[in-house]
C-alpha cells in the first residue's frame, strides 16, 4: 500500500521528469533483453526446422536405422524386415541435389520404394496430378520425379515439365510426374524436396547397392525398446537404431557448441545492460539524496526508501523488457539467415522457413530482464540506508564516495581474480577426457575474471587520473586540470561508467583477437593441406565443411587430367561417422599424390611414417583434438564402423586439421573405397603445369567437364577468400552484440556525466561568474567524457588480450587442437581505443551542452 503511494506520487513523476535518464535505463535493459530473446528465438527456430524436417519425412516410422554417411548395403534391409516385431521396413535414400538452369536452388532428394513407402509416409498429390501413371510406370521411367506444390509455384514448374538437377553423374533431366500437396514429406525442408524411385536415386547419386536409411514401423502389441534391441542384435556394430526424436537430439548435440557460443554472447549483452541500470539507479540515489532525506525526516523507513527505488526499477524494467522482446524478434529476423548459413557451412544443411518465437522465449526474456534489473539496482538501492534524516536539513559538504574503494571491495576483486586463475589451472591440468575440460569451465573462469577486474576499476581509475594529472592536464589548460580533479571527486560513480566501457571493449578486443587467431590458423592449415592451383567442387564452393555438396565420381579426376595444362587432379572424399559417441569427419585422399605437394602439419609421428603406412593400408592419421580427447598416440588403433562392420585401423601420426570441431580422421582413398564401397569425391585438387596460365586452365576445365556439371572451380586465393567469408559470417552475431554493448556503454557515460553536471550546477555558476566561457565549460565536460572512455578503453584492451587468449583455449583449442596459436589483433586495440574515446566524446556532447547553458544567477542560488 505504502509502496503504491510512493510509486504513484513520487516515482512516476521522476520517471516522467528525468526523460533522458529513464530513456537510457529503458534502452539498456531493452537492448540486453533483445540480445537474449533474439538469440533464443534463432536457436529455437534452427532446432525446430531440424525437428520439423525429420518429423515430416519420418511419417509413421517408429525407428530409423542409419549407418555410414556414404550409405550401407541394401542387404541389411532383409535382416531388419525379418526381425521379430517389425511390421514394415522400407529403404530410403536421402541426399542433396541442386536444381540447375535458371536460379539455382539446393534441394533434398528422397529416394523411396514406390511400391511400399505408403506404409510409412502419406503422399497427397494435387488434383492435376491425380491421373498419375500407375506406380509401375513411375518405376519404369528412371527420370520420374515428384516435386512439392511450394517448389512448383516458386520455380514456375508445371506437371510433365522437364527440370535439370545436378547429380553425381552431372546435370540430368527429370520429368515432373506429379506435384505434392503440402502434407507429409512435402512439408520438409521448406518445400525444397523431391521424391524419386529409390533405384533411380541409387543410380544417379552413385549409391548403387546402397541405401542411407531404413524406416521401420512396429507391429501391434510390440514395445519400442524390445524391437529396437532385436534390430540392433541382427545388425553389425556401427549401425544406429534410433527413434526420430533421438535423431533430432543428435542434431541438437551436433550444433550445441555453436548455439552455446552465441548464447554466451547474449549473456554478455545482458550483463552490460545490467550495468546501465546500476549506473542509472546509483545516479538517481545521489541526485535525490535531499529528497530521500526529507522523506526520512517525515517518517519514511529505510525499507520504504529501498523499496521505492526497486519499485521504480521494476517499472522501468518491465517497459524495457517488453520493448526488448519486440526488438529481439526483429533482430532474430535480421540474423536468422546468417546463423542458418553458418550452421550450413559448418555442420549440415539448414533452411529455416519461419521464426519460432514461443511464449517461453518471451516470458524468459521478460523475466530475466526484470530479475537482472532488480539485481543491478539492489546494491545502489541498499546504499540509501546511509541517507539520514539530517541530510534533509544540512547541506552536507561534498564528500568523496569511497564506497567502491573500500578494502572489502579490493579483497573481493583479488578473490575473484584468484578464483578465475584457479579454475583455469584446473582446466589446464585436467585430463583431456575429463568433464572439467569444457567450454563451461572456461566460461566461469572468464566470468570471475571480468568480475574481479571490474571491481578494481575504481582503483585503476584513481591511478589513471593521477597519471593524467601528472603528465597531461596542464597541456589542456584549465579545462584539463579541472576535468581530472572532477573525476577524482566521485571515483565510485565514474568507475561504473568506466566499467561499462571496459566490458564492451573487452568483448570487442577479445573476440577480434580470437577471430584473428582462428582465421590465421585456418588459413595456415589450408596452406599446408591445399597447395593445389585450382579447387574443383560441385554444389558448394566450400566442400570441406558440412556444407551441402554433390559428390562427383572419383574417376572424374582422370578426365580433368586430360585437360591441357593440368599436371594432376587429386580426389578428396569426406563423410561423417560416429566415433566414441561423436560425429567425426573422415577424409580420404590419395596419400602419395597429395603429400607430394602438401606439407601437412604433423604434431606426432612423421611424414615418412604417413607415406609408409597409409597408402592402400588399414592405417589412418587423426587430428590433435581427437587424439587428445581419446588419448590416442601413434602406434595405437582406432576401430571405425564401416558398412560391413567395424574395422581396426592403426594410427600412423597425429596431424593438425581444423576441418571439424568434433575430430578428423584421414585415410588413403583406396583404403576408403575398399571398405566403404564408395567411389565418389567431394573435391579435386588440381595442379597446373609450370608456365601454364592457371585462369586459362580453369576455363578449359569448366568448358569441358563443367558443361555437363555445375562445377565450382576456385583458384587457391578464391578458396581462401571463401574460408575467410565463412569464418567472418560465423562471427556476425557476436559482432552485432559487440556493437550493441558499445552503444549501451556510451549511454552509461551520458547518464554519468549528466548527473555530474547537475551536481556541479553551483560550481559551474561560479566558474562562469569568474570568466569561464561557455565553450570552455563544455570543453571541460567533454574532456571528462573522453578520459572516462580512454580509461575504459585501456583497461578493456588489456583485459581483452587476456580474455581473447582464454577464449581461444576454451572455444577453439579445445575442439580444434592445441596448435592454434594466439595472435593479438593490434588493429582492434587501436580501433577500440579510438572508438571508446570517440564514442565517449559523442556521449559527452549533450551533458556538455547542458553545462554550457547553465544560468549563472540561478546556479549561484542553487542548493
Amino acid at each position: 500500500m505504502n509502496l503504491t503511494n510512493l510509486l504513484r506520487h513520487i516515482s512516476l513523476k521522476h520517471i516522467k521528469l528525468q526523460k533522458a535518464q529513464t530513456f537510457m535505463a529503458v534502452s539498456g535493459i531493452c537492448l540486453g533483453v533483445a540480445a537474449m530473446v533474439s538469440i533464443g528465438i534463432v536457436n529455437k527456430s534452427v532446432l525446430r526446422s531440424f525437428e520439423d524436417s525429420i518429423n515430416h519425412i519420418t511419417g509413421r516410422a517408429a525407428l530409423q536405422i542409419t549407418g555410414a554417411e556414404s550409405g550401407f548395403p541394401e542387404g541389411m534391409l532383409d535382416r531388419v524386415q525379418n526381425a521379430a516385431g517389425v511390421e514394415y521396413a522400407v529403404p530410403v535414400i536421402e541426399t542433396n541435389a541442386k536444381l540447375s538452369g535458371g536460379k539455382e536452388r539446393s534441394l533434398m532428394i528422397l529416394g523411396v520404394d514406390v511400391l511400399q513407402d505408403n506404409q510409412i509416409r502419406d503422399y497427397s498429390l494435387t488434383d492435376e496430378s491425380a491421373d498419375i501413371p500407375d506406380p509401375l510406370l513411375f518405376l519404369a521411367k528412371l527420370d520420374s520425379l515428384l516435386i512439392t506444390r511450394a517448389m512448383a509455384d516458386r520455380e514456375g514448374i508445371g506437371l510433365d515439365q522437364q527440370i535439370q538437377v545436378q547429380t553425381v553423374e552431372g546435370i540430368r533431366r527429370f520429368r515432373v510426374r506429379g506435384i505434392l500437396n503440402p502434407e507429409g514429406p512435402a512439408r520438409a525442408a521448406g518445400g525444397d524436396i523431391a521424391i524419386m524411385d529409390i533405384y533411380a536415386a541409387q543410380m544417379v547419386f552413385g549409391k548403387e547397392g546402397r541405401i542411407d536409411r531404413i524406416d521401420v514401423s512396429i507391429a501391434r502389441g510390440e514395445t519400442l525398446d524390445a524391437v529396437k534391441d532385436r534390430i540392433q542384435a541382427v545388425l553389425p556394430k556401427g549401425y544406429s537404431v534410433d527413434t526420430p526424436a533421438g535423431r533430432t537430439r543428435q542434431v541438437e548435440i551436433l550444433t550445441m557448441r555453436f548455439r552455446k557460443s552465441i548464447g554466451l554472447i547474449s549473456f554478455m549483452g545482458m550483463f552490460v545492460g545490467m550495468y546501465l541500470i546500476y549506473n542509472a539507479v546509483s545516479i538517481s540515489v545521489v541526485q535525490r539524496r535531499k529528497e530521500m532525506g526529507i522523506l526520512r525526516a517525515l517518517g519514511a523507513t529505510r525499507g520504504q526508501i529501498i523499496r521505492l527505488f526497486l519499485g521504480e526499477t521494476f517499472v522501468v524494467s518491465v517497459v524495457g523488457s517488453l520493448l526488448g522482446v519486440g526488438l529481439g524478434v526483429f533482430f532474430a529476423k535480421l540474423t536468422i539467415g546468417s546463423v542458418a548459413q553458418s550452421i550450413t557451412d559448418a555442420y549440415l544443411k539448414t533452411s529455416v522457413v519461419e521464426l519460432a518465437p514461443s511464449w517461453s522465449n518471451i516470458v524468459t526474456g521478460v523475466g530475466i530482464g526484470i530479475i537482472a534489473s532488480l539485481a543491478a539496482a539492489a546494491f545502489p538501492a541498499r546504499s540509501t540506508t546511509g541517507i539520514t534524516p539530517i541530510s534533509a536539513i544540512r547541506i552536507l559538504p561534498h564528500a568523496e564516495d569511497g564506497r567502491l574503494l573500500s578494502t572489502r571491495i579490493r579483497i573481493a576483486s583479488a578473490f575473484f581474480i584468484l578464483v578465475s586463475i584457479l579454475i583455469f589451472m584446473a582446466y589446464k591440468i585436467a585430463d583431456a577426457s575429463s568433464a572439467i575440460r569444457s567450454t563451461a569451465t572456461i566460461f566461469w573462469s572468464i566470468v570471475f575474471l571480468l568480475l574481479g577486474i571490474s571491481l578494481s576499476t575504481p582503483v585503476f581509475l584513481r591511478r589513471f587520473m593521477l597519471l593524467f594529472h601528472r603528465f597531461l592536464s596542464s597541456r589542456l589548460g584549465a579545462g584539463g586540470r579541472l576535468a581530472g580533479l572532477n573525476l577524482q571527486k566521485n571515483i565510485s560513480r565514474n568507475a561504473v561508467a568506466v566499467a561499462a566501457i571496459f566490458y564492451s571493449v573487452t568483448l570487442f578486443v577479445s573476440s577480434a583477437s580470437m577471430i584473428h587467431s582462428g582465421r590465421k590458423a585456418m588459413l595456415d592449415y589450408i596452406d599446408s593441406v591445399e597447395r593445389g592451383d585450382i579447387i574443383i567442387s560441385s554444389g558448394h564452393p566450400m566442400a570441406v565443411g558440412g556444407a551441402p555438396n554433390i559428390p562427383m565420381p572419383a574417376e572424374m579426376g582422370k578426365e580433368i587430367e586430360k585437360v591441357p595444362g593440368v599436371l594432376s587432379a587429386d580426389p578428396f572424399r569426406k563423410i561423417y561417422l560416429n566415433y566414441n559417441g561423436r560425429r567425426v569427419l573422415l577424409g580420404a585422399f590419395d596419400t602419395l599424390g597429395w603429400m607430394e605437394y602438401n606439407p601437412i602439419m604433423i604434431t606426432e609421428g612423421g611424414r615418412k611414417d604417413i607415406l609408409r603406412l597409409l597408402p592402400r593400408q588399414d592405417n589412418v592419421v587423426v587430428n590433435e583434438s581427437l587424439a587428445a580427447r581419446n588419448r590416442i598416440k601413434p602406434g595405437d588403433f582406432v576401430v571405425l564402423p564401416t558398412p560391413n562392420g567395424p574395422v581396426r585401423f592403426g594410427v600412423a601420426a597425429i596431424v593438425v586439421s581444423y576441418t571439424s570441431d568434433s575430430g578428423v580422421i584421414w585415410m588413403d582413398i583406396h583404403t576408403y573405397q575398399r571398405h566403404w564401397h564408395d567411389r565418389l569425391a567431394d573435391m579435386f585438387s588440381v595442379r597446373v603445369k609450370a608456365n601454364e596460365n592457371i585462369s586459362a586452365v580453369r576455363e578449359a576445365i569448366l568448358d569441358g567437364i563443367g558443361k555437363k556439371r555445375n562445377l565450382f572451380a576456385l583458384s587457391a586465393r578464391e578458396f581462401k577468400d571463401e574460408v575467410r567469408t565463412m569464418i567472418d559470417r560465423s562471427f556476425l552475431v557476436s559482432n552485432a552484440v559487440n556493437i550493441i554493448t558499445m552503444i549501451i556503454a556510451g549511454l552509461g557515460i551520458i547518464v554519468t556525466l549528466l548527473a555530474s553536471v547537475l551536481e556541479r550546477t553551483r560550481e559551474i555558476g561560479v566558474l562562469r561568474s569568474i570568466g569561464m566561457r561557455r565553450n570552455q565549460v563544455s570543453g571541460l565536460v567533454i574532456i571528462e567524457s573522453v578520459l572516462l572512455g580512454v580509461a575504459g578503453g585501456i583497461l578493456g584492451s588489456a583485459a581483452g588480450i587476456l580474455i581473447g587468449w582464454i577464449n581461444l583455449e576454451g572455444f577453439v583449442r579445445l575442439d580444434y587442437g592445441a596448435s592454434v596459436t594466439y595472435h593479438i589483433h593490434y588493429a582492434s586495440i587501436g580501433w577500440a581505443l579510438l572508438l571508446s574515446a570517440g564514442l565517449s566524446a559523442l556521449a559527452g556532447l549533450y551533458p556538455a551542452r547542458r553545462a554550457a547553458k547553465t544560468n549563472i544567477v540561478q546556479a549561484l542560488a542553487y542548493e
Partner: protein, 229 residues
C-alpha cells in the same frame, strides 16, 4: 511531555571531535511554545534535531510522552517521527515534483492511506493556512511564505504531539515572517505544543518560554507566562 536528561551530542569534523551539546536537561510541558535561542554554533539546531528524532544523542535520554527516543531501532524512531512530530524547516524542504496538496499529504501517504482519503484533509489544512486556492500549485509556483505555510500544513496533518520549527522565517521577509509567527501563535493558543529555534528575540517573544544555549550547554531558562507578544 518532552523530557531530556543529560543529553549530549558529539560528532567528528575531520580529525577533531566537536561537542555540539553537553549534558542538557529540561522538560517541555504540553501546550508550551518554547523558543530555543543562542549564538551561532551553540547547539540550537542539534538540540531540535534530537527532540525530533532526526538524530540520536551520544549519551543521555530523551522521552516524548514517556516513550524513549534513545536506544530504539531506526524503524521505531521513524514511526514516532512520522506520527508524533511535525517539522517546519528553514528551507521549507518541500518535494519540488509534488503539488501543494501532495506535499501536505506525504506523511499520511507514507502511512499507507489512499490519496483519495487523504486529499480532503490536506485541502482542509491548506485552507486553514490560507492556501485553499493554491492546492495544485507546485513549490516553484509559490512564494517563500506560501511554501512555508504548505510546510506548516504538512507538519500538522498527522495531529502531532509537538511541532518543531527550525528558523522557520530564516528565508522570509519581515512581513511574511510576522504572518508565520502569528500563525504559530494561533496554533499554540489552540493547544499545539511548539518548539522553535530562532536567533531573533522578537521571534522568541511569540512564545511562552525561552531557553538559551551557549557552547552546547543550557545557560538560561525563562518563562514568559502567557504569550508576551
Amino acid at each position: 511531555m518532552i523530557e531530556m536528561l543529560n543529553a549530549s551530542k558529539a560528532y567528528h569534523q575531520g580529525t577533531q571531535e566537536v561537542h555540539a551539546l553537553r549534558n542538557v536537561s529540561f522538560r517541555i510541558k504540553k501546550g508550551e511554545f518554547l523558543s530555543i535561542m543562542g549564538p551561532s554554533g551553540s547547539g540550537k539546531s542539534t538540540l531540535l534535531n534530537l527532540i525530533g528524532g532526526l538524530d540520536q544523542p551520544t549519551s543521555g535520554e530523551i522521552f516524548i510522552d514517556g516513550r524513549p527516543l534513545h536506544g530504539i531501532s531506526d524503524d521505531e524512531l521513524t514511526l514516532i517521527r512520522r506520527r508524533r512530530i511535525g517539522f517546519i524547516f528553514q528551507f521549507f524542504n518541500l518535494l519540488p515534483i509534488l503539488t501543494a496538496v501532495e506535499n501536505v499529504s506525504l506523511p499520511l501517504l507514507l502511512d499507507g492511506m489512499p490519496f483519495s482519503q487523504i486529499k480532503p484533509q490536506a485541502v482542509n489544512f491548506l485552507e486553514k493556512v490560507g492556501l485553499g486556492a493554491r492546492t495544485e500549485h507546485r513549490p516553484e509556483q509559490l512564494s517563500g511564505g506560501e511554501m512555508q505555510r504548505v510546510a506548516i500544513a504538512r507538519a500538522l496533518i498527522t495531529n502531532p504531539a509537538v511541532l518543531l520549527a527550525d528558523e522557520p522565517t530564516g528565508n522570509l521577509d519581515s512581513h511574511t515572517s510576522e504572518e508565520i509567527f502569528m500563525h504559530l501563535k494561533r496554533l499554540n493558543e489552540q493547544g499545539q505544543t511548539i518548539v522553535m529555534v530562532t536567533h531573533d528575540p522578537r521571534a522568541a517573544a511569540y512564545g511562552t518560554r525561552i531557553i538559551t544555549l551557549k557552547d552546547g550547554a543550557l545557560s538560561e531558562d525563562i518563562s514568559l507566562g502567557e504569550h508576551a507578544s
